[in-house]
Symmetry: C2
Subunit: 175 residues, 2 copies
């Protein structure tokens, strides 16, 4: 019972990954589960401080996160990982390595992502002040067959959170 | 009950860290504990493939391992980490970050380590074929106050293993 899993939220910057995963984490902790949140901020200091945003560095970033998620997952932790992780092949390898894996595609139009972008990152990317920005001048490869799709420009945060928890239940990760 | 801890084995190359930690891991798993072994080999592929043996790289290596050990420890895993980890200051930071931490100094004379060195690493270091080798041309800073000292050139592997388990028990990590 209570086996580990990595729930991997992938999607454009500002698509809603962090907001939803934080809320799922809160709900699972209240139910008494072991939970870890992994995102760019939490891993940067301890794990990936040497990495930038080139394709190679992004791959290396996800490779290290995958290692950590794998160890947590096999020790019965619910890992909620939120990374843009734009490349199909890298996500495929992550799934393969971790095994107990649930991919959540946080789907949101670029227009809506721009509207939500409080840090002004899209603006800078569109102005050419930063380059290699996913959704602007760097590709995002949509998941061909994720366990779950959240349409965050059509549904509320509460609805998305509920869908994640129901999917975890139906896959046997919360029994 | 059954709280996590990182048992950190530090000492010269070939002092016996791996042999002892593997045996402790086996015993703890038999008792039903969640156990992870972390050593240079297990982390190299997923976490530290970019790192060499300079002081900076060694520090970065231990920094990443510390991050992983911290997450596992706070999720109730017994982490058995075996790293030469020659520098007091870096070990101090690791202890501080992880919190539930038991330092085991695997103490063995250089002469005995050389005798045990099946891979011939000391020979190469003494011949100048490799440099920056701890115990030969790079310093090992002895722990001033470890939770446990194992004198592996005086005691048997069985005795060392038993001492580690007894110390974990007396510190409340196996109750």
């Amino acid at each position: 019972m209570n086996k580990g899993v990595t729930v991997w939220f992938t999607g454009l910057p500002c698509s809603g990954k962090t907001t939803i995963a934080d809320r799922v984490a809160e709900a699972l902790r209240e139910q008494g589960h072991r939970v870890e949140r992994l995102d760019g901020d939490t891993v940067r200091k301890g794990l990936t401080s040497d990495l930038g945003f080139s394709k190679e560095d992004r791959d290396e970033n996800i490779k290290r996160v995958t290692f950590v998620a794998k160890l947590l997952t096999r020790n019965d932790v619910k890992v909620l990982a939120t990374f843009v992780s734009p490349y199909i092949e890298r996500r495929r390898k992550t799934r393969e390595e971790i095994g107990e894996f649930m991919e959540v595609y946080v789907n949101c139009s670029v227009e809506e992502c721009i509207r939500r972008d409080v840090k002004g990152m899209y603006r800078k990317a569109l102005a050419g002040e930063i380059t290699g920005f996913t959704g602007v001048d760097d590709p995002y490869e949509e998941p061909p067959s994720p366990e779950l799709i959240l349409d965050t420009d059509k549904e509320t945060v509460e609805e998305s959170v509920q869908k994640v928890i129901e999917k975890m239940e139906s896959l046997g990760y919360l029994s």
